[in-house]
């Protein structure tokens, strides 16, 4: 470190921001710590009022107030307290806030205290102290591993109706309010040379090194305070306390514009190519977000290099009744004392298998807390000043109904001793936080000297691991690894960085003797407190021949739920290894997937909620249609007018029937902008369309439109539309609304990948043109009032299937197509989208004398069924041109997509399905879409199936229900009476097979 920085560090820093004399302000509050302010913060837990300080977590504030009982366990409803001081917490899950802001399953250890915080315990009734469901605990002999699999197998129907509702109510975690979350969540993107994950000594040193070299750095930590374990320990760095060094490092990082420091930010996943997911909790530490500010932000961080400096997590030792409130991890007890100036109780004992546990005893003694004993499993345990040491001893049981009172110790000489303690600090060693290294293909490897898994195998691309996460537990090693790791990562990017002189720091060796669980005792020793998994459950699983760790996990539920076994997995698989007579590395470890810690659905959704869930596309006539009181329907992302109710109409059918009849009798207008439009230009445009459509297009004259059918390469029809030729080298193609994107994509595929040298260009113009269908006997008369008079649109000059460029309303450019979906004399007229609103108003005004009606998608549907035109129901992914009655349209003289395979024998059977129409024999009977067709007599079965009805509607023209659909050899069965059956509803209707062209089969109207 440079002198300048050392000097900067001498800026007066006072860890607690005040005198630090708070001892006894709350019953278990000590002096010192990193809590701030002299003003107390008010909060409630289960309705009771408490006080804490800025810098507290909910857990530290509750402990300060003497609250050890914080929750009930998942399955047995056992009283539980806080086990840890970090995000790995399995027990202390609470509901935070209320109403729309209520958040279940929040770990009290990471909930930052603020004035007015409101928290409630979960999974208990009627209260935390008196929980009715604690009766489960009495039946624990029945509720062992696999209980649900074994018990609720039969009868099957009982599962859904009886077992599951009961289990769901009895077991489980927090509840939700079912109210809308009033807060906003955002998404953001960041780019950097080096992403540093974790801001402990390793991460801070890495960020300093990289930042000084001028690299773009992002450093993120889930904690609101940077520093990691430096805040929880008493040892310093150089001449400074750990916390003071952190303050100084933070100040230097803040002064660098190339460094972005992100506290309260969890890196939740490592994805491909150096992309990381991160959740920043921007407003979880205040009563409510500032107006317009998000509660949380989901970041996508694109890093060129990443360093995992995520530290390590302490693991417990399992022993009988090790789950009483007050039994905690030793490192957590130390963190509460040193960082939060809190002790869980005034008398504490320590149970450890390693030297690190002794630090807890020493730090508590220094703070004036009575340490009643240090129980060390190692016979050669080091001496402790100020507390009794039991070397080679084990804790074999505990007592205390809602909180720990004493621990029974089996001494090395075989006798027992009961040690009074309100808290027991347990250390079984430390596990490097390897999680993110496993998110792709990393497979951690066992390191015997520290008795833990360390990152190994193929790490995510461009990720390195340093410090405790890599098994280097001492502070000096962490600083060195951080600096050297940053230099190495940046040198790969061609950025020169210097590790510099590192400050002096603690460099204690690891001294641990693996010890996973106490074998003595008949009671339950808890491995996974969140899922209530005991040592016995693991033994039972082994007995029942579950051998893989992944199976063990799923059978016992060890390591599931919100903590994902951060404190429990290791113990479970160590026991499994022992039972199988294997070494731990042979058994291996379970893998970790994103997210590292729980993520709220809100931040995943971001702004895509409610109406903004996905884009809404409105047609150019939308505003006008709203003014008319139209009912709208979602079609893909589009909102289309479904029908236009008039005063006095009480049923949608009245509106639709009126729209159909008025269109067929005079004229109707429909917004058809949603149909896909693709502009095709180039010398080879006609040749290209010949490839795209099953039917021929090369000889289509300029000024003409042709219907076109598109096939998939397997010969199935998938879309239809029209292509209008405006010039030798210019076509305008339309697609169905649903397939607009797909057709364009497929055409680009053909253009670039199949026919790369055709001179043709494509562009989607769906949103560039507002297009209206004008249909009915008076359509021409209406349009003649709108189209400028110099354009002759008489039947002779502009016959059926003509197209051309015209102007309307005195010079506005427009495209006119004489095409008809309704079967009437009809046109479609397109104007630039910005004139769409004016155009609909103009058309309606011009149509007034004819009684013109607007019609919606329902009337459109009725008229196309009356006319026998195929739509999505008929182009359903199983039908060919032959089925659609367009077999002869498929040109055999040219190549087109789908041509060759459409000739397959199986698709050209004699008795192939053919599109025909159906009329009920009894005019009052309804024809139902989806009904299957059966011969007039004989059984109703799949084997005798003759086809199915695809579309049905009430035809106001015919005065009865009609349908179209596919019938075996349908084209040669007209006049036959068959049955349309719907076995699901027990319905059967006699129908007559007719032509699908119910209205004007000769097509005289549309040519008129």
């Amino acid at each position: 470190m440079t002198d300048a920085v050392m000097n900067a560090g001498t800026v007066a820093f006072q860890a607690d921001g005040s005198t630090g004399a708070r001892k006894g302000v709350q019953v278990n509050r000590l002096d010192g710590g990193l809590i701030k302010g002299s003003k107390a913060l008010n909060f409630t837990f289960d309705g009771k009022r408490y006080k804490g300080f800025e810098g507290d977590t909910l857990a530290s504030a509750l402990l300060a107030n003497g609250v050890r009982l914080m929750g009930r366990s998942f399955k047995y409803h056992r009283p539980r307290g806080v086990l840890t001081s970090g995000s790995e917490e399995p027990n202390a899950l609470v509901e935070l806030r209320s109403g729309g802001r209520q958040e279940p399953n929040t770990r009290a250890t990471v909930a930052e205290l603020y004035d007015g915080l409101e928290a409630n315990s979960q999974n208990r009734w009627p209260s935390l102290k008196h929980d009715f469901m604690a009766v489960n605990d009495r039946f624990s002999n029945f509720l062992t591993a696999g209980f649900y699999y074994k018990t609720f197998m039969w009868p099957a129907a009982f599962w859904e109706k009886l077992y599951e509702p009961i289990i769901r109510k009895a077991a489980g975690l927090g509840s939700i309010s079912f109210e809308d979350d009033p807060d906003a969540y955002d998404k953001g993107f960041l780019h950097c040379d080096l992403l540093v994950i974790g801001a402990g000594p390793t991460g801070l040193m890495a960020a300093l090194t990289a930042g000084r070299a001028g690299a773009q750095v992002v450093i993120a930590d889930e904690d609101f305070l940077l520093g990691g374990r430096l805040n929880a320990e008493t040892f310093g760095i150089g001449d400074l306390t750990g916390a003071a060094w952190v303050e100084q490092a933070q100040a230097e990082l803040a002064s660098m514009p190339n460094v972005r420091v992100m506290p309260r930010t969890s890196i939740i996943g490592a994805y491909d190519h150096g992309i990381y997911g991160a959740v920043e909790r921007t407003a979880d530490h205040v009563l409510a977000p500032e107006t317009g500010k998000p509660r949380q932000i989901l970041w996508r961080i694109y890093s060129k290099r990443a360093m995992l400096a995520a530290g390590a997590t302490e693991r417990p030792i399992a022993f009988e009744n090790n789950d009483r409130p007050g039994v905690m991890l030793a490192g957590a007890v130390r963190a509460y004392a040193n960082r939060w100036a809190v002790t869980p109780d005034q008398t504490v004992a320590v149970f450890t298998n390693n030297d690190d546990g002794h630090r807890t005893a020493a730090d508590l003694i220094a703070k004036g807390v009575k340490v009643t004993a240090v129980i060390d499993t190692r016979a050669d345990a080091p001496k402790v000043d100020g507390a009794e040491l039991f070397a080679g001893a084990q804790v074999v049981d505990t007592k205390g109904r809602l909180g720990l009172e004493w621990a029974r110790v089996r001494l090395a000489n075989g006798t027992t001793r009961d040690v009074p303690c309100g808290a027991l600090a347990v250390s079984g060693g430390w596990n490097p936080n390897v999680h993110l290294t496993c998110h792709q293909r990393g497979r951690p490897a066992w390191r015997e000297d520290i008795a833990a898994f360390v990152p190994a195998g193929t790490l995510p691309q461009n990720m390195s691991v340093a410090g405790a996460a890599n098994g280097d537990f001492s502070t000096a090693a962490a600083l060195r690894a951080g600096a050297e790791g940053a230099v190495a990562a940046l040198s790969e990017l061609g950025i020169e960085a210097k590790a510099g002189d590192l400050p002096e720091a603690e460099d204690a060796p690891i001294n641990v003797t693996p010890f996973w669980y106490v074998k003595e005792g008949k009671g339950r020793a808890w491995l996974d407190q969140q899922n209530d998994v005991t040592v016995k459950d693991v033994k039972l699983a082994h007995q029942e021949n579950f051998r893989s760790v992944e199976h063990l996990k799923r059978y016992t539920t060890l390591g599931m739920a919100t903590d994902q076994g951060k404190t429990s997995n290791m113990g479970g698989l160590a026991i499994m290894a022992e039972l199988a007579g294997k070494q731990i590395p042979e058994v291996g470890t379970t893998m970790f997937r994103p997210p590292y810690t729980p993520v709220s659905f809100g931040v995943m959704a971001g702004r895509s909620v409610g109406e903004e869930f996905r884009p809404t596309r409105k047609t150019p006539s939308h505003k006008w249609a709203e003014e008319q009181g139209a009912e709208f329907v979602e079609v893909g992302q589009w909102l289309r007018a479904q029908w236009f109710p008039k005063a006095g109409e009480t049923h949608w059918r009245q509106s639709v029937d009126r729209e159909v009849l008025q269109t067929r009798n005079s004229v109707g207008i429909c917004d058809v902008t949603t149909l896909g439009k693709i502009d095709v230009q180039g010398k080879d445009a006609a040749a290209f369309l010949n490839k795209m459509y099953a039917n021929a297009f090369a000889k289509l004259p300029v000024g003409k439109v042709r219907y076109g059918l598109m096939l998939r390469e397997d010969g199935i029809a998938y879309d239809d539309g029209t292509a209008a030729r405006f010039a030798e080298d210019h076509f305008v193609v339309t697609t169905t609304t649903a397939n607009a994107v797909l057709v364009y994509r497929n055409m680009e595929f053909a253009r670039q990948c199949l026919f790369p040298d055709m001179d043709v260009q494509l562009i989607s113009t769906t949103e560039a043109w507002a297009q209206f269908a004008v249909a009915g006997p008076n359509a021409r008369k209406l349009l003649q009032k709108v189209v400028d008079p110099e354009f002759d649109i008489s039947n002779e000059a502009f016959p059926f299937m003509a197209c051309g460029e015209v102007t309307v309303a005195g010079g506005c450019r427009a495209r006119l197509f004489r095409i008809s979906f309704s079967g009437e004399l009809a046109y479609e007229i397109a104007v630039p989208t910005r004139y769409g609103d004016a155009m609909i108003r103009k058309l309606m005004e011009a149509g007034e004398e004819f009684g013109a009606v607007p019609y919606g998608t329902e009337a459109l549907g009725v008229m196309r069924i009356e006319k026998g035109h195929a739509a999505g129901n008929e182009l359903n992914g199983t039908t060919s041109a032959l089925n659609l009655g367009m077999g002869r349209m498929v040109s055999k003289k040219k190549d087109c997509i789908g041509n060759t395979l459409s000739e397959r024998e199986g698709m050209n059977q004699e008795n192939a399905l053919k599109l025909v129409g159906f009329k009920p024999v009894n005019a009052a009977d309804p024809v139902q879409a989806g009904a299957h067709l059966m011969n007039a007599d004989g059984e109703v079965s799949a084997a005798t199936d003759q086809g199915y009805i695809t579309s049905a509607a009430y035809s106001p023209v015919l005065g009865c229900s009609i349908g179209i659909g596919f019938l075996k050899s349908g084209d040669s069965r007209k006049g036959e009476v068959i049955r349309a059956v719907n076995p699901l509803e027990g319905k059967e209707v006699q129908v007559e097979v007719v032509s699908a062209h119910f209205v004007d089969p000769e097509g005289e109207r549309l040519r008129g």
């Binding site: 992309i275 680009e748 670039q752 990948c753 060759t900």
Partner: protein, 95 residues
Amino acid sequence: MIINHPILGPRDSQEFTYLGDATLIDRPDWEADDAAGQFHDYLYLRDNPAGEHRELWFHEQGDRSWLVVTRNTVTHEILNVELARDVARARGRSK
């Protein structure tokens, strides 16, 4: 994933639509004697390699280029990105 677009540089894979095996470029000749058999193989038969795979991606929310991306399906490492049109030409589709 990040796809290094030959024209536009590195782009997030979210901007792309995936199609599949790049052999879809090799559409058979419809006039070949065994055209039906060739089209069957073209459409339905694919290798499913654990390792290097040449595949088609469409820059749908970008410049609408079809790309041939050579990707390791095990590691997701992207080894090469080409314009599909160049690949098609190189494979003799210029006619």
